[in-house]
Structures are given as structure tokens and as C-alpha cells.
Assembly symmetry: C2
Homo-oligomer: 255 residues x 2
DNA sequence: TTCGCAATTTAGGCGCACCTAAATATCAGT
DNA sequence: ACTGATATTTAGGTGCGCCTAAATTGCGAA
């Protein structure tokens, strides 16, 4: 008998998914921090999930949790919901960049697969959401995303903004304020490793200073500098080399 | 301190609202039947709601419940959500007549006022949903709806379908099957009061027999017989006399 | 190796929304 | 006014998802 996903269990699965995209296993404390619940609550929930059938996670005392194939399936489904809702709100209902996350966070647990499909169809089955995150496909595969944190960009390189963390509206506004948008071209003038600040030059020549809290929210790809396509008005990410379809654990679907 | 509405409490308020649109007070059993929960559960919930602050209902033992102004406000808000969602799914996402209810029933509890506003704006602030139900306005007032059950229509009269109950997909399909649509013109040939059957003639001249279960799901208004506007392709309900803005308790927002 | 701290689990409890079974209240009909 | 049927409430209990406080475990530094 299939256990019915709830808003709460979905959120645990998402948290484990995101944490294990970076680390080996998802620890109790880390999950608690993300979900803003007590560590004790997390222990209880992990035990329950791990002994459900089919179990979405595996769990060993003091060693944290990992997703099973089943849990991964559901986590990706929820992420697909989230990113399609964000895309739809942005494209069809004039929501701003920084407004979509909150609404999506709530609705992702309640829309039907049918509604999801219809939204995707209206949008022409987009592969990336308004923040540049890949939208998992119905079959669970994830569009390619070859990028890295701005902080790791080499000084002197020109990079293109490929992803922006969507979970904090204030940061998104700050990024906008700096004149940075998805797909913006940026030249790295300096990386202040101690402060975490990055000094950049925008396409319009203006020099900007990006504080650590902001820099850590940006991911970029190497810009293969086409002089022709100045205004980046083309289709999404034509500048990216199409990567092979990578297995889930390395595909970097961070939040 | 304001009590936070949940899916469950919203559903209780809607049930009380709908029942008290017809009767004096909403009884425990009737609520239980609608919500498919036990009568004991209803008693418990009514007690809790009545002693919350601000209380959305008043409750007296053995005498059922009634909405307070506060409860009415919330009930109408939820109904507005429901009908706007239905309208939006129908108009923007190609949902069929009989498909919208279920999705709306779930989502009505979770969409923000902001999303609701944006959907309404995209649709041009519609006043009636795809089944002809009036969509409450943001201020709580309800568009006019002067109609009556098909079963009460006089033999020989020609009526126009103004509302169709939306809560059962099978019935909606059956209605479609009979060639009846919102705003269809129908001549009443016979009312079989014992069986509840209505015998009608459609605008195309075809005679149809409408069984009680279906007839009781249709509300109609007197057709002021304009021969010119054959295909009823005009704007919504231009045939209806605009009624005065009626107070809530008499406005007939049945489900 | 052992000490101490940080991470984690256990124990005990809470409110919500539901349940069944048993008691009680109301009401219609004689 | 009584009585039986029906409506409703009370009593006692469940699972979920959360909490705090008090153990415990594991691990790195001395």
C-alpha cells in the first residue's frame, strides 16, 4: 500500500535531495536547519519515512538519510512542480522574478499532474525556470546545466549568469539592483577571497562590487563570447554546450 | 490573535454557508454528510470554531451552526477562489467543463490573494464561472443571479439555462450529452412531477427527456425571447435583468 | 586513550482532525 | 404526556507532525 505524500514529507524529501546533491548523506541537523524544525522532529520523521512502504529514504542512526529510487522520483516530481509553477506564474501571470518562489513553494504540493502538464504545454515545455534552474522532465531526467559558482570564476574571464538562487526575494531584488540578470555577461575583474566580494564589469562597461551573500547566489558558465549576439535575445542557453544526460546525483539540481 | 484557516476549517465554513443559504441553521448531520466525516467530528469542530477568536460561527448545542460576519467573509473568499480558479483553468488552460471542479476544490485553500487577483485580471474580472455561478467580488458582494430550478419552470415556458451544479463530473457529461449547455434555450413541454422528469424541446427542435438527477442540477431564467440573437454568442447574461445588489443571505450562492 | 563538545536520539507531550461506540436530547405521533 | 426514532453529543482513542528537555553517541584534540 502506497504511502500518500504530504506537504511535510515532500519537504523532507526535497531537503534530502538537495543536501545529498552536495554531500554524501543528509544529516539530521542540516535538514532541521533547512526546514526550520527541531532536530528531534527530523529524527522522528526520518525513522517514519524509512520504515514506510515503499520507503522513500534509507536511514541509519547517527549517519543521516539518503533517498531511495522511489524517494528520488518523488523529490524530482516536486521540484518539477515547483519550477513549472514558477515558470508559469512568470510567463503567464506577470509575476516578477522575486515573487514566484513563495507561491510555488506552497502550490507545488497540491497541483495535479494534469495541471502541471497543461502549464508545461502552454509554455512550450520549457527546460529552465525564470532563475535558470533546470526543470526536470516528466521521465525524471534533468536538462543539462554546466556551470559553477561565480566565486570560482577565474579573474579575467568573461562569464554568463546561468542560475540565480530563488529562495530569497530580497537577494533577488539586490541582484536586479546591481544590473545583473539571467544570461548577463560579466567580466571578472577581481576576486577578494577574504571578504568573498567579487568585482565585475557589466556588459555596459560599468564596474560593480558584488558582496559575498550575493556572489554565492550566482552560478555562471564560461561565455564563448559571440560578438554577434549582443543583446542575448535569442532562445535560452543556446550558448551552452549541450551536455550528455547526466545521472541524477551529479546533475547539481541545487535549490 | 487571528486563527489561521486550514483546508478543513475552510470546508466547514463553506458547508455552513451553503446550508444556511437554504435553511435557517446548519445541522450537524447535514454538515457531516457533505464533508463525508462523522457527525461526532462535526460536533467537535463546531465547538472549536465557535470558541475561536474571532469566531467564524455561532453554535448552540443541538441547534446547529450559523456563520458570523467573520465566517461569512472567509466563506465568500474561499468561494471566490474556487470560482476564479475554475474560470481560469477553463479559459486559460483548456480545462473542460467537468474537469475544473476537482482541481479547484483542492487549490482554493492555498492560493494567495495576489494570485487570485492576477487570474481575475487576466480574465477581465469575470462575474460568472463556467457553470454560471456568480463569482463573489473582492468586497464580498455577489453578482446578481435571478433564476430558479428547472423543476419549477412553467410548462409551455421557454427558459434559458443559467446555472449548472459543478460538483459531479458524470452529471456534467450527461448534461452535455443531452445537448444542453450554459445559456441554452429550452422550451418546457412537460413536467412529470412524480418521476421528477422534465420533457424539453431544444432550440434545434429536438425533444429531450431529462431525468430528475439531472433536472435538479439545472437552474434557469425566463428567456425574454430575442429571436435575433439566435446563437447566444453575445456577452454573458445580457439577457438577465440586472438585479439590485442583494444582501448576502438572500443571494442564493448555492454550491 | 580519554575527555569534552557537538550531533543526534529518546522520552514525554501537544494540538489538529479524524474515528467508533455509547449516551442523551429533541421531536413527531399517538 | 409518552415513546420511539432520529439527531446530536460525550467519551475515549488514533495518526500526524511538531515541540522541549534529557539522555546518548561519535569524534577530534590533547
Amino acid at each position: 500500500m502506497r504511502t500518500v505524500p504530504t506537504e511535510s514529507t515532500d519537504n523532507y524529501l526535497k531537503a534530502v535531495f538537495e543536501i545529498t546533491a552536495v554531500q554524501e548523506r543528509a544529516g539530521t541537523n542540516e535538514i532541521a536547519r533547512r526546514l526550520k524544525v527541531s532536530a528531534a522532529s527530523v529524527t522522528g520523521m526520518l525513522k517514519k519515512l524509512a520504515s514506510a512502504t515503499p520507503a522513500p529514504i534509507t536511514y541509519e542512526k547517527h549517519r543521516g538519510a539518503e533517498l531511495t529510487a522511489e524517494g528520488q522520483r518523488r523529490a524530482i516530481e516536486v521540484i518539477r512542480h515547483h519550477r513549472l509553477i514558477e515558470s508559469y506564474l512568470h510567463a503567464a501571470l506577470d509575476y516578477g522574478w522575486e515573487e514566484v518562489h513563495e507561491e510555488a513553494e506552497k502550490l507545488e504540493h497540491f497541483i495535479s499532474e494534469d495541471l502541471e502538464d497543461r502549464m508545461a504545454a502552454k509554455l512550450g515545455f520549457p527546460e529552465y525556470d525564470p532563475h535558470g534552474h533546470p526543470i526536470p522532465r516528466r521521465d525524471g531526467s534533468i536538462p543539462p546545466c554546466i556551470d559553477f559558482p561565480l566565486r570560482q570564476a577565474a579573474v579575467g574571464a568573461t562569464v554568463r549568469v546561468s542560475r540565480v538562487s530563488d529562495d530569497d526575494a530580497a537577494s533577488l531584488r539586490a541582484i536586479r539592483q546591481l544590473g545583473i540578470d539571467l544570461h548577463s555577461l560579466l567580466e571578472v575583474l577581481e576576486q577578494r577571497t577574504e571578504s568573498g566580494e567579487a568585482i565585475l564589469r557589466r556588459a555596459d562597461g560599468v564596474r560593480i562590487e558584488v558582496p559575498r551573500e550575493i556572489a554565492s547566489r550566482l552560478r555562471v558558465s564560461v561565455a564563448v563570447a559571440e560578438r554577434r549576439t549582443e543583446g542575448n535575445s535569442g532562445r535560452d542557453r543556446t550558448d551552452l554546450v549541450e551536455g550528455e544526460r547526466r545521472p541524477l546525483e551529479s546533475s547539481g539540481v541545487s535549490q
